[in-house]
Symmetry: C2
Subunit: 176 residues, 2 copies
């Protein structure tokens, strides 16, 4: 059963990629990942967004920037992580999820710009979510939901100052 | 059983929202929606992206721009659609999906900027995908995957010039 999930976002350009990378970080956090690592130029606006979220909405995955994807993948391989690269060229998620669910520690790699060939080679699994081009944000969300069989949807975030009470109409927000 | 899915994207600003709105359109298409309607200023760059995708990768959902979300929601209500607004304030997807799956025609509303109160009132269902702030792209993908119980993952797109043959490593692309 999966106990630890690290998301590695391959590529980030400050300003230009701010919104897409912040969607990636917030989705990883909301869907129960333990940490996000972004390969690219350090971007304080992303760090601030994620830190603010963790302060307000409860403690979830933080974000850290690194220069080399090769070093980070190698680092996690040495620590016993199984690496899953999400790509539309890979094997369908519905055929691979059951096998992947058995590992304890997962490194989930998601691209942005063109991903180098070596990533496909280094990854233990290359997994597709549909065989169509769409969005790394969507692919990661669906993969994490299937991997955890929906258990992540009800995850509680410790130390939250704001929390939501689900309602059929309107908004109900509890503040501490 | 759901037979027709229209995605209504509430809000779009040209240039600034290009990437996020195009992710929304491509995810809706890849996950089997029949059409995307965007409320906002007509944006040819989005139309071109979606049209090119449909020509190259096979016929899926197209996109059309409209001025008034109120008129479009009313239009679909009159045509017998059940409307589902995805919002983190709504009832959890895991508790509502079974009921929603029974309808034939669905209008799935996804926000971007702040959504007006009236949308919450007009929607037949307000549905949350986790109770955390994250991404409308991710919320839509997970909702559409759960709604269709994964059947959309293997959808074939007619008339494709390019298609992918899933492989464990690397890329295998078939071109006509």
């Amino acid at each position: 059963m999966v106990k630890e999930i690290i998301v590695l976002r391959y590529g980030h350009r400050p300003v230009r990629d701010y919104r897409v990378t912040s969607h990636c970080c917030l989705v990883a956090r909301a869907f129960g990942a333990d940490k996000v690592e972004v390969i690219g130029e350090k971007d304080e606006s992303i760090e601030n967004t994620v830190n603010t979220m963790n302060k307000q909405w409860g403690k979830g995955a933080g974000v850290e920037f690194f220069d080399s994807w090769r070093k980070r993948i190698t680092h996690y391989k040495k620590k016993g992580f199984t690496s899953v690269h999400l790509t539309m060229y890979g094997l369908p998620v519905q055929e691979t999820e059951q096998a992947i669910r058995k590992f304890n520690k997962l490194l989930v790699i998601i691209g942005s710009q063109k991903v180098e060939k070596e990533v496909y080679e280094m990854a233990d699994y290359n997994v597709s979510v549909t065989l169509q081009p769409h969005s790394e944000i969507a692919a990661m969300a669906v993969f994490l939901d299937r991997l955890q069989e929906g258990k992540e949807l009800a995850k509680k975030f410790g130390g939250a100052k704001i929390s939501i009470e689900p309602v059929a109409k309107g908004k109900k927000v509890n503040k501490k």
